[in-house]
């Protein structure tokens, strides 16, 4: 540490001592002609024919000292047309630069600690997406907005029915040995957010994507997997006005667009034949009308029932007293859209207002936003309101105070369980009756027996009717009326997040400034869950699946703060042919987390009294306290020579509280260089050509309390006053330490023909070694896992971005942007001594495919029970035609090989803009539990239809039906037989042969289309009041162009290795009006 400080001090001295005097000073401001972009930092201002020059500062201001003989100033900036301005004796020269290209590289790159720089000198891939590119289709989630637009990103979305879910971003494949949950880092104006859910999209100026260690070393351990750096808008002068107002108002309507393919031939129940009902004494009088009529098995929640041929039958609701349907029959007809009909239309209102004011030495931008969502599932909704203030104030000429405050308040209502057997998709796709009419379900939502049982489609069969215990018949066997369920369950999450910073920046001398910053992020959260005891009164076996239906109340509180105290010294200087930028700083971090939770157990003493003390059994309590600290010091610098040769370095040292005390110091570093060869070549067609190379290494720290291990907790429940304790299941290697992600990358950037064609290509190669990971070990050791430094993962890939502007005419322009990432390999080279593979995620127990990491194979293999096959891959069958289990089948990796997107944008007659965003991925696998149970239950399309003899597979084998099965026999020879459909599909589960339920992640999707119209405010005489107005209509998920999987949207799989009951894909259409005053 001492050495480092010495270095900082020396650095400063060297800089100061080189100051010397010149003859003439020209100052000015460089702004962008692109609406809303304002001043441009990092523009190169150079005296033509010399190496004398300067860069504009963060406010676009420059000051350049020139020889009196100087004639012309050249203003250049990547993505902007270079402009030459005669000096002609002027002391102030203000310049506006035109955009040369719609693409990724228009704006400055922001790195950690707010350090900005021109992309021309960047040594690693640093992609920037401007706010307006993100909001062509108005989004509430930044991850969603980035999909397809950045090379090397894979966005794993979630169904829009699952409100508040932001999905997940993978940068350059996955990191570490886990399921990849540690993900990327989100940094907003220098503040690290724990997720991306609390952002106002209308406040975002731009997003810089630092893909890995060669770019993100300044962020230390936390940035090991790359970082997404978000810069919010600040107040800007535009068109000579000192004040501005911008209003955005939008609405979005959503509905289901993809559900699994169901069979629509057979009704509910487990038996093929309708059952005749015979009235008997003791049964309700109103049932006499049904005597001699037929019903299908209601209690079995499968659809192996009778063929739906329009025949008369007794529907589930006829048995309940007191409705116009009591004692009536209906026709048994297919209901192909019943699952789809359940979901309503979701509506999202998205409004924001922002005020800006700029004055001499002072600027402020304040915004208020609100997102209000009515979900597609009954009773679900989300309300988010926020306000943000960003301001700076020059206390003196050299001392500037800055403050940045963001407050988000969110309330989420409703139940969003998308796991196995949840009360919407968990039924529709897993256990359901294909003959159910969802509109009838909705109509009869409030149907209740005199004994207080809410009516269910899944009640029992009349044979169990007992007049002394009518619940036994009327109550749901496993399921409720879905609409009633969402009435009787209520979950509320309220959260308040406050984040931001205050800072003081002191300009010591020109080019040298010191800044101190205090940052804080505070997150308070309250959660409540209520399950009505009515559920218990209306179900016979439901409490066995979900004990909460006995009546349940849970509440959580959490308090979380993250504080940073930072210092930063910044220095920039031009010395002859060299330009130097340097920063040195420290960052002290403190994290505090407190969490309390309690819930009732075994129901309530007093019905529907939601209180912890009303618990039948001793309530469950949880009490968590966690603390973490790190302290960091860093230096970074870059030097350029004549603006075509660049060198760059970063060193950061962290001391972590979570690491073993005697070796808690870890160092991150990166080095790189770039060479702009086009400046030397002077080729006409080549505007810009650059090669770059960089290397970075980031060690990773450990999780809180993982060292030294062997922490014994006390069980909260006692056995007659005797407390219990279990031995911790994790071994910790006493030599555990931080470990290393190393990355090298090489890039090429080219722009041709007046920058109408731009190409960026980056090859990267990353190695993760000695990962501190808790590896599953054979439990026979006495422990389930061991935390140790282990393993080696090697990754290589190619990130490509292509920008074209094929047309650029006043009345028509076309911009084309394509990204392509190829994950050439991500191999598990080594796990640990003696460990060949281990499991990281199971969707359903140990038999079905689970996600494992296996030595010598690609990261994230789906592994588990499949069909045993001979050397030629032909399944081996029993004599009865059942597949034989092979417990160790590798189905492939969960990672796609190729990901990317294509954006087309057309400007027509200046006023219209049409944009379309396509994204895609190829390769990768997932396991569908819904499909497994849906097939077991006879719901999926494959369980119906005809066999190769043209006879329904559900017909008895003796009548020519059955599934045709061929393969080789256990003792050789061939097996060629027909198996009864229900046996065939049940056996897939019984024999642990899950091949049919493994899907491909490949897809091509038209993700977004928008049409925007700039209202000509001047023409309609409104320019006095309005500066600009844009109205747009857009759609999300309009078209899944290609997908190998026809049942789910592969871009929205709920878990890394598959899904267990996920919600359907959602399509939205919306409109937005943006007005600036």
């Amino acid at each position: 540490m001492k050495k480092l400080l010495l270095l900082i001090v020396l650095f400063v001295f060297v800089g100061v001592s080189t100051l010397s005097a010149q003859t003439r000073v020209i100052t000015g401001t460089v702004t962008s002609a692109v609406e809303g972009e304002g001043a441009i930092p990092g523009v190169t201002v150079q005296v033509k024919g010399t190496t004398i020059g300067a860069l504009t500062d963060l406010n676009g201001k420059y000051s350049v000292t020139v020889p009196t003989t100087a004639q012309t100033l050249v203003f250049s900036y990547v993505g902007m047309t270079t402009k030459e301005v005669p000096i002609a004796g002027q002391a102030v020269i203000n310049v506006t630069l035109e955009s040369s290209l719609i693409g990724l590289q228009e704006v400055v790159v922001t790195s950690g600690y707010g350090i900005k720089r021109a992309p021309k000198g960047s040594v690693a891939l640093e992609q920037v997406v401007s706010g307006d590119k993100l909001s062509e289709v108005r989004q509430v989630n930044v991850n969603n907005a980035l999909a397809g637009k950045v090379a090397g990103i894979q966005f794993q979305g979630q169904s829009a029915a699952k409100l508040g879910s932001t999905g997940k971003i993978r940068l350059r494949g996955e990191s570490g040995f886990d399921t990849g949950n540690d993900g990327v880092l989100y940094v907003v104006d220098g503040t690290i957010l724990t997720n991306s859910s609390d952002l106002n999209m209308d406040d975002i100026e731009d997003v810089s994507i630092l893909s890995g260690p060669s770019a993100s070393a300044i962020l230390g351990s936390q940035g090991a997997n790359g970082a997404i750096i978000i810069t919010t808008k600040k107040a800007k002068t535009s068109a000579g006005k000192s004040m501005g107002v911008e209003v955005n108002t939008g609405v979005l309507a959503s509905s289901v667009y993809i559900t699994p393919n169901y069979q629509n031939d057979y009704a509910g129940g487990g038996s093929y034949d309708l059952i005749k009902y015979n009235w008997s004494a003791g049964q309700p009088e109103e049932w006499k009308a049904l005597d001699g009529k037929y019903y299908h098995d209601y209690s079995d929640d499968a659809s192996w029932g009778p063929r739906m041929a329009g025949q008369e039958y007794i529907p589930w609701y006829s048995w309940y007293p007191g409705t116009k349907y009591t004692g009536t029959t209906a026709r048994l007809t297919p209901q192909p859209n019943n699952a789809r009909d359940f979901y309503g239309t979701g509506v999202t209102l998205n409004n924001s207002v922002a005020f800006s004011k700029v004055a001499e030495g002072f600027n402020i931008r304040a915004s208020v936003g609100s997102v209000n969502v009515k979900g597609l599932l009954p009773g679900t909704g989300l309300d988010k309101t926020n306000f943000s203030v960003k301001t700076s104030y020059d206390i003196t000429k050299r001392l500037t105070f800055g403050a940045n405050v963001n407050f988000f308040n969110t309330t989420t209502d409703g139940e969003f369980d998308d796991g196995y057997s949840n009360q919407s998709t968990g039924s529709f796709n897993q256990w359901f009756h294909r003959d159910l009419d969802m509109n009838k379900m909705k109509e009869l939502k409030d149907l209740r027996t005199p004994d207080g049982v809410w009516a269910s489609w899944n009640h029992n069969n009349p044979t169990v009717y007992d007049p002394t215990n009518t619940k036994n018949f009327y109550a749901g066997n496993y399921w409720y009326n879905f609409y009633k369920w969402f009435d009787l369950v209520s979950n509320i999450t309220k959260s308040a997040r406050l984040f931001g910073d205050i800072s003081l920046n002191y300009e010591i001398i020109e080019g040298l400034s010191a800044k101190v910053t205090y940052r804080r992020q505070q997150f308070n959260h309250w959660y409540e869950e209520k399950y009505s005891t009515d559920l218990n009164d209306s179900g016979t076996q439901t409490a066995g699946n979900e004990a909460r239906v006995k009546g349940y109340y849970r509440t959580d509180n959490s308090y979380q703060t993250r504080e940073n105290f930072e210092t930063l010294l910044s220095y920039s200087k031009q010395i002859n042919d060299f330009k130097i930028n340097a920063n040195a700083g420290t960052d002290f971090f403190t994290y505090e987390y407190k969490f309390n939770r309690a819930n009732t157990v075994d129901g309530f003493n007093i019905k529907n009294l939601y209180s912890l003390s009303n618990s039948v059994s001793q309530p469950n309590i949880e009490n968590t306290r966690r603390d973490e600290k790190y302290r960091a010091a860093f230096v970074r610098g870059d030097v350029s020579f004549r603006d075509f040769l660049f060198a760059d370095f970063t060193l950061r040292n962290d001391w972590y509280s979570t690491l073993p005390p005697d070796k808690n110091s870890i160092m991150s570093k990166s080095f790189g260089g770039a060479f702009v060869f086009s400046d030397l070549l002077d080729l006409n067609f080549l505007n810009f050509g650059k090669i770059r190379a960089s290397w970075g290494e980031i060690p990773r720290a450990l999780g809180i309390f993982s060292y030294p291990g062997f922490a014994y907790g006390v069980g909260q429940y006692q056995w007659n006053g005797r407390f219990v304790m279990g031995t911790p299941d994790q071994l910790v290697d006493p030599a555990i330490r931080g470990a290393v992600n190393t990355e090298k990358e090489f890039g090429l950037e080219l722009r041709f023909f007046n920058s109408k064609i731009g190409l960026t290509a980056t090859y990267w190669d990353r190695t993760e070694r000695d990962i501190p990971y808790s590896v599953s070990i054979a439990n026979y050791s006495g422990f389930t896992s061991k935390l140790l430094n282990t393993g080696e993962i090697t990754k290589k890939g190619l990130d490509l971005a292509l920008n074209l502007r094929p047309f650029n005419r006043p009345n028509f322009s076309w911009d084309f942007n394509a990204t392509f990432a190829y994950l050439m390999e991500q191999n598990i080279v080594k796990i640990a001594e003696g460990i060949e593979q281990f499991s990281v995620q199971t969707i359903w127990g140990g038999g079905p495919p689970q996600m494992v990491h296996a030595k010598g194979k690609q990261w994230g293999q789906l592994f588990g029970g499949g069909m045993k096959r001979n050397a030629d891959g032909v399944p081996i069958l029993t004599a009865d035609g059942a597949y034989i289990n092979d417990p160790a089948v590798f189905f492939g990796s969960v990672l796609p090989d190729f990901t990317g997107g294509i954006q087309n944008s057309f400007k027509i007659f200046k006023a219209f803009t049409v944009s379309a965003n396509v994204d895609y991925q190829f390769g990768g696998k997932f396991f569908s539990l819904s499909d497994m149970w849906g097939t077991f239950s006879g719901l999926t399309a494959r369980t119906s239809g005809l066999n190769d003899k043209g006879i329904p597979i559900r017909d008895p084998v003796a009548d020519g039906g059955g599934v045709h099965v061929t393969g080789v026999g256990e003792e050789g020879g061939t097996v060629d037989t027909y198996v009864a459909a229900q046996d065939y599909y049940h056996n897939l589960y019984n024999n642990d042969t899950y091949d049919p339920f493994v899907y491909d992640l490949t897809y091509i999707k038209l993700r977004e289309v928008s049409l925007a119209y700039n209202i000509p405010v001047a023409k309609i005489g409104m320019s006095k009041y309005i500066q600009g107005a844009t109205i747009s209509v857009f759609t999300q998920n309009p078209w899944l162009i290609y997908s190998k999987c026809k049942d789910f949207d592969p871009s929205e799989i709920s878990a890394a290795s598959g899904e267990s009951g996920q919600f359907p894909g959602i399509r939205s259409i919306g409109t937005n009006l943006k007005i600036s005053f």
């Binding site: 400080l5 210092t567 056995w719 054979a778």
Partner: protein, 496 residues
């Protein structure tokens, strides 16, 4: 310029000051979990293990109870149709077996043994941990056969799978030594929720386990001077005695009440679900024995009325789900009074030991041959008494299906004695199924709708998929020793 220089100095000094004051690398106790301790309490570890010995992985295990047809599945009959059951025994090692190992370590380690002795003498705690380890291992090897043993629980995941023969012999040795290690006196043993620290009863329990384990080897070692008979006799004649009266039963008396974690597993079996019923096999056999009113305990309808209607065994869902719907008075496992939240679960009981002695006597293994009839009758009576029922009348014992028709000393009465063992072990499937594999009694018809390939009753559990990935070498050796490979119908060592 000078001013600037001083400003920089001041700033640099401030940085040094901040850095220096708080010693960058010193974080005090930031990383210490305030809710945990670093040293275990051996009494709490013991309670933790005992709290689950009556649970669904041991004395109330459901899978084996389906294989020996104590229970039938009512709506999802996959297990009882012999679907592939890829469970792994490994979880028990990281859980309770290591807790027991930890008791031994903490009572042995010089650094911790004195503190541990506050919970009872080091020797007694160690001996009890060894006895319970033997019981847990026994329930595992009977299901899977060869399992990791000699180098398990040592923190090293590279384990070998020991042969069942080696495991059995070592378990018997452990039990023998434990009986000798247990001594009265010292601090009161804490955490013992079964025998409340009564050392004499633990000795009886250990001897009982040794007798039952020895008897399990009767196929391998049938002779009166073979290993099994020798060990059986040695345990029988050990001065510390064995469980011969219900007062000494090893049972778990659940706390129940307002404590949701420690409730009787059969209460929980029906707490919201009805996946199981008493098997028709059991009701039929009990019905064939004359007046065997243990049925009033073993099963009743959902609302508690008496019934003899067992659930048909091993039928596919297409059949059984509608059957249960049409026959709502089928028998649930246990009458409600025997599956309350607080009902006890019997792990090892007098009836099992008396019937074991009757069998050994009938085989001519012991010097009790003359007593065979008396042992047999008292074994049956102990079973009735354990369930709180009055003794069966004399007619019960003369019923043709109960009375022992053959001369004693040759093992010819085994079909009768083993049938009573099968009934007495109800609902403990691990015992019931193991005993059936050993004796072939009762004659069980395999599931009518079996889905496994040879359609026979499984004779072992197959290893889990994780075993293949985490102990590849060890398991390969174990599988190579199995005739027929890692299949459900391959036989464990003692099953021959």
């Amino acid at each position: 310029m000078k001013k600037t220089f001083y400003t920089i100095l001041t700033f640099a000094a401030a940085v040094v000051l901040i850095a220096g004051c708080s010693k960058l690398e010193d974080f005090g106790d930031t990383n210490v979990n305030p809710a945990a301790t670093s040293s275990p309490n051996t009494a709490a570890l013991l309670t933790n293990v005992l709290s689950d010995v009556g649970g669904t992985n041991y004395a109330a295990h459901r899978g084996a109870a389906l294989y020996c047809q104590y229970f039938s599945e009512t709506q999802y009959p996959d297990f009882s149709c012999y679907s592939l059951n890829q469970a792994s025994p490994a979880g028990v090692y990281a859980g309770y077996l290591y807790d027991l190992e930890n008791i031994i370590i903490t009572n042995t380690d010089e650094a911790t043994k004195d503190i541990a002795a506050l919970n009872g003498s080091n020797n007694n705690q160690i001996a009890i941990a060894r006895i319970l380890k033997a019981y847990l291992y026994w329930t595992l090897t009977d299901r899977w056969g060869d399992i990791p043993y000699s180098d398990a629980l040592k923190g090293d995941p590279n384990v070998t799978y020991d042969t069942q023969e080696a495991i059995y012999k070592d378990l018997i040795k452990e039990l023998t030594e434990s009986v000798a290690q247990l001594a009265a006196g010292g601090a009161v043993l804490k955490g013992d929720i079964v025998y409340a620290g009564d050392v004499a009863k633990w000795k009886k329990f250990a001897n009982s386990l040794r007798m039952l384990m020895a008897l399990r080897l009767s196929k391998q070692y049938p002779g009166a001077s073979d290993y099994a008979a020798t060990e059986f006799k040695a345990a029988l004649t050990n001065a510390a005695g064995h469980i011969s009266s219900n007062a000494d039963n090893f049972k778990i008396s659940f706390v129940g009440g307002a404590n949701a974690t420690f409730q009787n597993p059969f209460y929980r079996m029906y707490d919201g679900r009805k996946d199981y019923g008493e098997s028709a096999t059991m009701t039929t056999i009990l019905g064939s024995l004359g007046n065997d009113y243990r049925q009033s305990v073993f099963g009743a309808t959902g609302n508690g009325a008496a019934t003899n209607l067992g659930v048909p065994y091993g039928r596919k869902r297409e059949f059984i789900d509608p059957w249960c719907g049409a026959n709502p008075t089928y028998a649930y496992v246990f009458a409600p009074a025997y599956r309350t939240k607080e009902s006890p679960v019997y792990v090892i009981h007098a009836s099992a030991l008396l019937l074991a002695r009757a069998e050994a006597a009938d085989r001519g293994w012991t010097s009790e041959t003359a007593n065979t009839q008396a042992l047999y009758e008292s074994g049956i009576k102990a079973s009735f008494a354990m369930w709180g029922l009055s003794e069966p009348d004399a007619a019960y014992f003369t019923n043709g299906a109960v009375a022992l028709p053959n001369a004693f000393g040759t093992g010819a009465n085994l079909p009768f004695i083993a049938l009573q063992q099968w009934i007495a072990f109800y609902p403990d499937g691990i015992q019931g199924w193991s005993n059936w594999r050993r004796t072939g009694v009762p004659t069980l018809t395999p599931a009518l709708d079996a889905t496994n390939s040879p359609k026979v009753i499984p004779r072992r559990y197959v290893y889990g998929t994780a075993d293949y990935s985490l102990t590849a070498e060890g398991i390969a050796a174990a599988v190579s020793r199995l005739t027929g490979g890692d299949k459900m119908d391959s036989k464990v060592w003692w099953d021959k």
